[in-house]
């Protein structure tokens, strides 16, 4: 079995040797964005040094090189998620834009008043707000599957909520707050039996787990490059080809047309129909290098490493009696992230004190306010892990968390 060596991997990430406030940087905010390996950083500079030209236009060799790199990324990312055809993979700015594209180009066209969209209590605002906007415009009803006490989805409730009016199930593959994994195969199979389509928000799951859109039989999958070692400003939307063919354009402009007159416009074929204007071609080209890096490690090995780190982090966190841990607390049921709170000190204060010790975690509502309501808290602290995080990083987290009490004068050892 292929095993990751995070100590070796760290050497590829220059930012991890930075110090913050005189302390080594312990980066535990990977659910927000991941750091970039040297190969990605170098490829981005190299692209501008050697290959920059606008794509899909020039007939000269430089433009062809740039176009080839852009389209090779499309094929590579398609293979990464085991998509049958790369033509149904669209590049956007981010996961949010990918979901908005589905809301605009598919749901607005096919859903009508009285139809329902089924969400879950685990969703990020990116998978709530586009549907809210559409629901107000079209008279569509939004419903949300609750979570059980262990923060996993209540699948009994899911089945009850899945009425014939539900035309779309929009569900995260992995909660950005709790790390909770969702049973996608079960959800998709059950939804399809009900003739509902399924959109998976893969912003968290695709970087952390093997993803196979063919086996999953998912209809729409959205994710972002920057959460999987790639550059910022690149989102992906994969859509089943037979669905993509029926969808309306998203943004209008150059690149997405076939013929234009003021009387009639015909659209380019997918995916170009959905990629208006000059895309973020440099970052897309470089995204391929990030995918190569992950493929070399193997996504099974990535998942195994995270299980190990999670297991260790959960056990060390449970030593701290002043902290409450949220979520499944089980590496089999979660990945990547752990949320917790001090019993009396606000997450913001915890985050600031940890930051001064070089430990970077996220605090706040994590763009998941409905989930915060479910948890009954205004905010949580979240540590999220990736391939370069070590047990020593977890130890630094625990040491810093212990210091919070001292700063607040809750122990006698304050000097």
């Amino acid at each position: 079995m292929n095993q990751l060596d995070p100590h070796k991997i760290r050497k590829d990430f220059p930012i991890l040797s930075r110090t913050m406030n005189g302390k080594p940087l312990v980066y535990l905010d990977n659910a927000a964005t991941t750091q970039k390996p040297n190969a990605v950083i170098k490829a981005l500079a190299d692209f501008y040094r050697e290959t920059n030209a606008n794509i899909h236009r020039g007939a000269y060799p430089l433009a062809e090189e740039a176009t080839t790199l852009y389209e090779e990324t499309r094929s590579k990312v398609g293979r990464f998620i085991n998509a049958a055809s790369p033509e149904s993979l669209i590049f956007t700015r981010n996961t949010t834009e990918s979901i908005n594209l589905v809301a605009h180009s598919w749901a607005r066209k096919f859903l009508k008043e009285g139809d329902e969209i089924l969400l879950t209590a685990l969703e990020h605002h990116a998978n709530i707000v586009p549907w809210y906007l559409l629901s107000k415009e079209k008279g569509i009803k939004l419903k949300s599957v609750p979570v059980k006490d262990d923060s996993t989805l209540d699948m009994e409730a899911f089945k009850r909520f899945l009425t014939p009016r539900v035309k779309l199930v929009a569900v995260t593959g992995m909660s950005n707050v709790l790390g909770t994994l969702t049973p996608l195969e079960d959800i998709i199979r059950t939804a399809h039996q009900n003739r509902s389509l399924v959109l998976v928000d893969g912003a968290q799951s695709v970087p952390h787990l093997p993803t196979d859109v063919t086996q999953l039989d998912v209809d729409f999958l959205a994710f972002s490059a920057h959460k999987m070692l790639g550059p910022t400003g690149v989102g992906v939307l994969w859509v089943k080809p037979e669905i993509l063919d029926t969808m309306d354009p998203f943004l209008g402009g150059g690149e997405m047309i076939s013929t234009v007159s003021l009387e009639k416009i015909t659209w380019a074929d997918p995916p170009f129909k959905f990629e208006a204007g000059t895309p973020n071609y440099a970052d897309v080209a470089v995204f391929a290098v990030a995918v190569d890096y992950l493929e070399k490690l193997g996504m099974d090995a990535v998942r195994d490493h995270e299980k190990e780190i999670l297991h260790y982090a959960l056990s060390r966190l449970s030593e701290l009696h002043d902290y409450v841990i949220y979520g499944p607390k089980d590496p089999e049921k979660q990945s990547g992230a752990i949320s917790f709170n001090h019993k009396t000190i606000h997450a913001h204060d915890v985050g600031t004190i940890l930051g001064l010790d070089g430990v970077a975690i996220r605090v706040g509502h994590h763009c998941a306010q409905p989930l915060m309501v479910t948890l009954g808290v205004p905010a949580t602290a979240r540590a999220s892990f990736y391939i370069y995080n070590t047990k020593e990083d977890v130890d630094a987290l625990i040491t810093a968390l212990k210091k919070v009490n001292q700063v607040f004068g809750l122990t006698r050892s304050r000097v």
């Binding site: 406030n21 204060d349 600031t352 605090v363 210091k403 607040f408 000097v415």
Partner: protein, 171 residues
């Protein structure tokens, strides 16, 4: 300009055991956080406003009793971090007994401390300019300046007070 802690290599040694955290969380701040003044809902209040910090979802409600242009009593409710709670505790203590005009001028002064309002530190009108010496305990919160994302926490109660006074003027 005060360097950000992350860019200040001396900060670790200067901050001693707590890496600078004890510079931010001074005793007086922790005291207001642990024993907040004027916390609760005011019976007979005639002005009220709710403020939120969208960065963290914190909420605060200010209730006030205003008579003849004077803030006779002010209280706060809600939850939040030590910075926002201490700031609210200090704010209510500081504005109690002040005229609406004085309370507004004080709020402007506090916002200027954090660089949120750019005008010079002299207050308008004939009153003498507010200075750091006149704000008592609140001086301890000046350290928040080094933490730009936390300034909103320190100002939440002050901005909510302004809303509260606006609401009152409308009635």
């Amino acid at each position: 300009m005060i360097p950000l802690p992350a860019d200040n290599p001396k900060a670790a040694t200067e901050g001693g055991l707590f890496g600078g955290a004890d510079e931010l969380y001074r005793e007086v701040i922790l005291d207001h956080f642990k024993s907040p003044r004027n916390r609760g809902s005011l019976t007979g209040a005639n002005a009220k406003a709710e403020g939120t910090n969208p960065f963290c979802g914190d909420r605060i409600t200010i209730t006030a009793l205003i008579q003849k242009d004077v803030l006779k009593d002010v209280t706060f409710e809600g939850h939040g971090c030590a910075i926002s709670q201490a700031s609210a505790s200090m704010m209510t203590s500081m504005v109690k007994g002040k005229t609406l005009k004085e309370a507004t001028a004080l709020t402007s002064f506090i916002k200027k401390i954090f660089g949120v309002e750019n005008a010079s530190l002299t207050s308008n009108g004939a009153k003498p300019a507010l200075t750091m010496d006149t704000i008592g305990d609140f001086q301890a919160l000046e350290g928040v300046k080094k933490y730009p994302v936390r300034i909103k926490c320190a100002l939440l109660s002050w901005n909510t007070l302004l809303q509260c006074l606006e609401e009152f003027k409308k009635t």
